[in-house]
Symmetry: C2
Subunit: 146 residues, 2 copies
């Protein structure tokens, strides 16, 4: 590294007592660059230099530490996205809406959404909501309207 200046990712890794390795920083920058959750196959595609197994381990380590969270898309494949800052180790604050675009297959994490209270049948106790919705994202919606 040319500069000794620490970027956000390095601080983040330090905070979680993880070593600042190339593969890890690369995963972080990949995930941060997108506002959508990224599937492991996609990550593999972009980071063909990183071993597939290493990727598994990095992703599960990050998930455990609360750096990223996993969300399943319509096909049941795991997609990963950065956690908002209030995620703690092994306890994710995942109460936002995951929007799954049926056209481009992207998974949007709509964090800043005021979810209406959902009333469950008697007896059910929701510890936390993980809400999914599917449809068209703005981009694809526009493309189709034309």
């Amino acid at each position: 590294m040319a500069l000794s200046h620490k970027n956000n990712f390095e601080v983040l890794l330090e905070k979680h007592h993880l070593k600042k390795t190339g593969p890890r920083l690369k995963v972080l920058s990949m995930l941060s660059a997108k506002n959508v959750a990224t599937s492991q196959p996609d990550l593999e595609g972009v980071m063909s230099d990183i071993d597939r197994v290493t990727l598994y381990r990095i992703l599960s380590a990050f998930e455990e530490k609360g750096i990223i969270h996993k969300v399943f898309d319509l096909n049941g494949t795991a997609n990963y996205a950065m956690c908002s800052s209030d995620c703690e180790e092994n306890h994710h604050h995942d109460e936002h809406l995951h929007f799954n675009c049926t056209a481009c297959k992207n998974v949007y994490c709509l964090d800043d959404l005021n979810l209406p209270p959902i009333k469950l049948p008697a007896g059910f106790k929701s510890e936390g909501f993980t809400l999914y919705a599917s449809g068209l994202c703005p981009k694809c919606n526009k493309a189709i309207e034309k």
Copy 2:
């Protein structure tokens, strides 16, 4: 079969131009017996006499025909449940809440739930909602309270 009387499952299969075979009827009765979605591993366990591959094929055929629908649990494993009657071929009306119990791992399909309207950010167009929530089901909730 002792009686020539057709049961619901046979009618259902006929309706979709599927032959009434042993394995298919067994899958239908298994899924109908439970008010929760059942995972393929669980189905395999109960129906050890049916070939694993056959099960894959039956489940995907049923899904295509709109007889059952697939829902992913917290681990991303597929769980299957009977569709309500208004599911059409390749177009599921899946707009109910899937409740995933974190204790017993069962997936409840809460059909008759009035979902509050969810307002999405501008541009997003929801074709259909698939909503998940996680927490404790009545049974596990009770067990823990004791």
